[in-house]
C-alpha cells in the first residue's frame, strides 16, 4: 500500500504526465514509431492498449494473493497474452478495416513492457479500484502520446488530420517514413523535459521566497 496517500486524480494524472509511457519512461517505442503515421492509427492502437491494460490490471489485482512470487512475470505475460488474443479476435471479427491497418502490432501488445511494468509496480500491491484508475491513466497517457505523434506526422507528412485535408499540400514527405518517428518522439521528449525543468525552477523559486 505504498501509494495509499495519493488521491485518485493524482494516480490518474501520473500516467499521463509524470510517468507517460512514451515520453517519460521511453517504453514501448516500437509501436510508437511503427504505426503512428496518422492520428487514426494512434487512436486505435491506444484504445487496444487501454483495453488490454485495464483488463490485465483488473485480473492481476483480483488474484494478486494467489500469485506465487517466483512466477509472477510468466503470470503477467500469460494474462496480457490472453487479453491481447481476445482483442485480436474481436478486432478481426468486428472491425476488419481497423485490423488491416494495425496488422501485427496488435499481437505485439503482449510484449509492451510498460503494461508488465504497471502490473508489477502497481496492480500487484494495490487494491482493485486504484489499480483500475492507474491502468486507465497509463492507457490514456499512451493513447494521447500516440495521437500526438500521429498528429504531427500526419500534418507534416500528408498535410491532413484524421483524413481531412488541412494544409492542402504535403510539407515534408519525410515525416511519414519510419525514421521520422524517432525524431518526433525525441522532440516531444525534449518538450516534456523542458517543461519539467521550468516547472521545478519556479517551484524552487517559490519555496525560497
Amino acid at each position: 500500500m505504498i501509494e495509499n496517500n495519493k488521491s485518485y486524480s493524482n494516480i490518474f494524472l501520473n500516467g499521463i504526465l509524470n510517468e507517460n509511457p512514451i515520453f517519460r519512461l521511453a517504453l514501448s517505442m516500437c509501436p510508437a514509431v511503427g504505426i503512428s503515421t496518422n492520428v487514426m492509427n494512434g487512436l486505435l492502437m491506444g484504445i487496444a492498449v487501454l483495453f488490454v491494460q485495464f483488463c490485465s490490471s483488473l485480473t492481476i489485482s483480483l488474484v494478486k494473493n494467489f500469485i506465487h512470487p517466483r512466477i509472477r512475470i510468466p503470470t503477467y505475460t500469460l494474462t496480457i497474452a490472453t487479453w491481447v488474443t481476445v482483442t485480436d479476435l474481436v478486432l478481426a471479427a468486428f472491425f476488419p478495416v481497423a485490423y488491416k491497418s494495425l496488422g501485427i502490432f496488435v499481437r505485439l501488445i503482449v510484449v509492451f513492457c510498460f503494461i508488465t511494468m504497471r502490473l508489477d509496480v502497481f496492480a500487484r500491491k494495490n487494491p482493485v479500484f486504484p489499480s483500475l484508475v492507474d491502468a486507465v491513466g497509463m492507457g490514456f497517457g499512451f493513447m494521447l502520446g500516440m495521437m500526438a505523434i500521429g498528429g504531427v506526422r500526419e500534418l507534416m507528412g500528408m498535410g491532413t488530420l484524421l483524413g481531412y485535408d488541412i494544409l492542402g499540400f504535403r510539407p515534408l514527405l519525410f515525416f511519414v517514413l519510419p525514421c521520422s518517428g524517432f525524431f518526433v518522439v525525441g522532440f516531444m521528449m525534449a518538450i516534456f523535459n523542458y517543461t519539467e525543468i521550468i516547472y521545478n525552477r519556479r517551484k524552487r523559486a517559490r519555496s525560497v521566497a
Binding site: 506465487h68 510468466p74 494474462t79 474481436v90 478481426a92 476488419p96
Partner: protein, 307 residues
Amino acid sequence: MKEIVKITIGLTLTCLIAAGIMGGVFIITAKAKKHNEYLNFKENMLALLGYNQTNPAPDSLQLCTVYRYLIYQGDKTSLGYMLPVKTKKTKDIRYQFIRVNIQGQFIDKFDLDIETAQTNDIKDRNKAIAAVLPKEVSQIVFADRFIAATNNDKRLAYLLPGKSPGFKTHINFMLALDSTYSIVGLQILEHQEDPGLGAEIEQEYFKNQFTAKTSERLKTLKVIKEPLPDDQLKFLERKKWAKDAYSEKDIETLQKKYQDKDICAITGATISSVAVVNGVKNVVTKFVYRVKVLEKIISKQNISVAF
C-alpha cells in the same frame, strides 16, 4: 520440492483459465470472422472482373461455383463435380453431382438436396453429397473449386483460387481467365512474405505482368532476373497516372507488345516471384485440362448448367 509442485499446479491452472477465455471468445467471433473472409473474397472476385465502388457490378452478374471432389471407393479413386444447374420451370439454381473416372469418362449423376446459401459451408456440402452417393463409397474429399462469372447468360470469366508455397508460408491468390483461357488478372489474397521484398508481389507492376498471357504461353513462361524496362513499368502501373496518359488504343498496342514477355523477378525476392509464377502455371494447366473434360461431359449428358 513442495514449492515446485505448487508452482506447477498454479501455472497449469492459469493456463487452463486463459485457454478457456480465449476459446470462448474464438467461438463467439468465429462466425463474424468467416463472414468477413467471405466478403473479402467476394470483393476480390469483383475487383478481378473490373467492378469496384465507382463501377458496381450489375444485378445480372452471376457467380456460380463448381466444386471438385475426390471420391474413394475401396482402392479405386474417382472424381466428382458439384455443378449448379438451372431448373426448367423456375429459374432457381439447383445442384447436381456427377461422377467421373480418372480417364475422364462419365459414371453417373445425382440430384443434390442443398440450397445455394448452404453451399459455402463445407460441412453442409459434404452431408448433401454423402446422402446421395452409393454406400460403397468410403470417403469424399473436397479438392478445389472454380467460379464461373456470367452476365446475362454470357460467360465473362473463370475465377480460380489457388495457392503456392512461397518464401515463408502459402501464398493464396486468385486468377481470372477469359473464355479462351488467357489470363485477365491476378489478385494476391493472403501471404506472409517480407515487407519491401516478397510482399512486392502485391504491387501492380508485378501482378499486371501476367495480363493477357495465353494458356499456351504459360507452359513456357519463365522468371528472368532482369530489371523491368522503364516504359513497361510505367505501362504496368498505369492506374497511378492521370487517366489520359494512355488512350485505349495505346493500351491495346502496348499490351500486345508486352504480353508475350517473360516475368521479370522482383529485386531481392526471386523465390516469391518464382512461387507465384509456378502457382499460376500449375493452376491454369490443371484447370484447362479439367474444364475441357467437364465441358465434353456436360454437352454429352445434356446438363443445363447455370454458367
